[in-house]
Symmetry: C2
Subunit: 352 residues, 2 copies
């Protein structure tokens, strides 16, 4: 356990370093951070903080910088998690009020807003379709051989896909299929879409057998493929002094490349704690290419269903206080709004 002065010194070093990106000297703490002890006293404490592993020293004649553990201590015990101004609150509110066309848009807007408030790069991932339960399935015949399937989930997520057939489809067939799907699939998870249909595959209704199969195939494909990813403010990161190091810049681009999106999704989805903000500092990240970065994530859920994940990626020297505060506020707003239900309930009594 640290005594008060050491805590104060650690906090001051972290915050000063976050601000200046330069190793912090004992003198700087006295002059800029109002620590009312002599630089010598502070130096003694700094030496001890270094011994317990909370500070690092780039070299003998430089100041100190926080270690990953130091940031961790700061985030866990010293942080001000209400570091958000009235102006920022207003801005967030105005952004979240924007009308959305789709549920996914909400995550997108939150991602953008977060990047604008924090000046870090933010990444958003749309809802994972596979976790959702089916509310309703609609089929629309777009042409004699072209069928559009629209799946609405209980949380309002919409998946649509187009199926092409080699032979003509009749409206009667479509009606039958629509009836079957909605009868069998309501409330079932999207991943299990083909299980309940299988019995029909082997049933007497041979006239739709050859129609159902391609539909299931295509729907399955649509569910598993499409996880929208939004990235905002990548250019902002490049203004940071850490990006003067080409290695860091490179690994950052590697992380954000669309190809590597799946990696990112894995990283973010491993943060499972519902409605809670997770912070991964430097080498706490499982992925080693993230060792020089910190990630702050938040998973937006409603009734246990994934509505999207939002993350901020920045250098370990990140303004945790600001990032966590902003994310906390946005997450609270997202949960308060319950936007999904605003216009669709009370139809069949299934929802309260």
């Amino acid at each position: 356990m640290l005594d008060d002065r050491k805590k104060k010194i650690l906090q001051a070093i972290v915050e000063e370093y976050i601000e200046t990106a330069e190793p912090v000297s004992s003198k700087a703490l006295v002059e800029k951070r109002n620590i009312n002890y002599s630089s010598a006293t502070i130096r003694n404490d700094m030496a001890e903080l270094e011994k317990i592993g909370l500070l690092d020293k780039p070299h003998t004649s430089a100041g100190r910088i926080p270690s990953a553990q130091g940031y961790r201590y700061y985030v866990d015990k010293l942080i001000n998690s209400n570091d958000i101004s009235m102006k920022e609150i207003k801005y967030i509110q105005s952004q979240l009020e924007t009308k959305v066309n789709q549920i996914e848009d909400l995550t997108k807007i939150a991602t953008t807003t977060l990047s604008e408030i924090t000046h870090y790069t933010s990444v958003g991932i749309g809802p994972k379709a596979s976790e959702q339960n089916i509310q309703e399935v609609k089929f629309i015949l777009l042409g004699s051989r072209l069928l559009m399937a629209i799946i609405l989930t209980e949380t309002g997520l919409i998946k649509e896909t187009i199926i092409k057939f080699n032979e003509d489809i009749t409206q009667e067939q479509v009606d039958t299929i629509t009836y079957l799907f909605n009868n069998k699939l309501h409330g079932k998870p999207l991943t299990q879409i083909d299980k309940p249909m299988e019995e029909y595959m082997h049933s007497e209704m041979s006239n739709i057998l050859n129609v159902i199969k391609p539909i299931l195939e295509q729907i399955n494909k649509a569910i598993n493929e499409d996880v929208p990813v939004y990235m905002e403010g990548a250019d902002k990161s490049f203004e940071l002094p850490e990006f003067k190091s080409l290695d860091i810049a490179k690994s950052f681009v590697n992380i954000l490349d669309t190809d590597k999106t799946k990696q990112m999704i894995d990283i973010l989805n491993s943060s499972n704690n519902e409605d809670e903000i997770n912070v991964y500092i430097g080498d706490e990240n499982v992925d080693k290419s993230l060792k020089d970065f910190s990630i702050v994530t938040f998973k937006h859920k409603e009734k246990g269903k994934d509505l999207g994940t939002i993350a901020i990626i920045g250098p370990t020297r990140m303004d945790y206080s600001k990032v966590i505060s902003a994310m906390k506020y946005i997450s609270k707003q997202l949960n308060k709004d319950k936007l999904l239900e605003s216009g669709e309930d009370d139809e069949d009594g299934k929802k309260k």
Copy 2:
């Protein structure tokens, strides 16, 4: 007009520089590029090529590099536009055969494939909705106050949006609206969706008046907002030696940031020539932040309708021969396939 030897020398310099990223010396041309003249002769020619502005010299005691004009001459007159291997052709074909859920997916696949073949960053932009003509409009009541509008265009592009109402909507209203929309809008451009509807706004059908307005609003929003952008292989660019310069790396990230997407869209959409490959070298680009880059674009059209634009962005020292060849081949394939029609024609005789 250049004599044959000068052409050969220019070509060799461009190609050698593309390969090595080092200023090319007269000696290198003799030894590595089999120019069967003495280095002195070559030096004389290089001096002349520099005088006409086709070559640059970083400093007195360095070799030559092509100027923007030099690249331009190379691209226009010296290039081998069939620089594509059997293996690459096979790969492109296999990729384009992938089943697509939506028309947009085609652009996406082409974008990815192009980046993989050329090893440069590629950017794809989906079809511009505003240029499309309406084929059919469907409305689906998802709840008592939630309506989904699906617009199918003549080229197969699908736009869908959700409209929320403050009061309940009946199926009869939806049917009326569906009839109205399809009656009035078939074959009209998407941008003019509200013009033909206006007369109804002032007509006797007051029971749907308050329904049409929010629908038009929301549809207009969906049309104008949603231009999907795909980016592939940004990390590949960072492996290039030019990205050792932090300024170049920075301006590159600036270009590709989602925020600046609209700039990019403008840039790409200014390349209007249908089914033709456009090359913008260095400062030929209107946007000054692109002065160190070259862009090769191709606009995929069918019957005059925009189906998407694909671009390769790389340093001015780009392998134009390979990029142009690959793009040419992909564009040919895209046009040959006419994928859009494969299953939807002959329904009502409107299409041949």
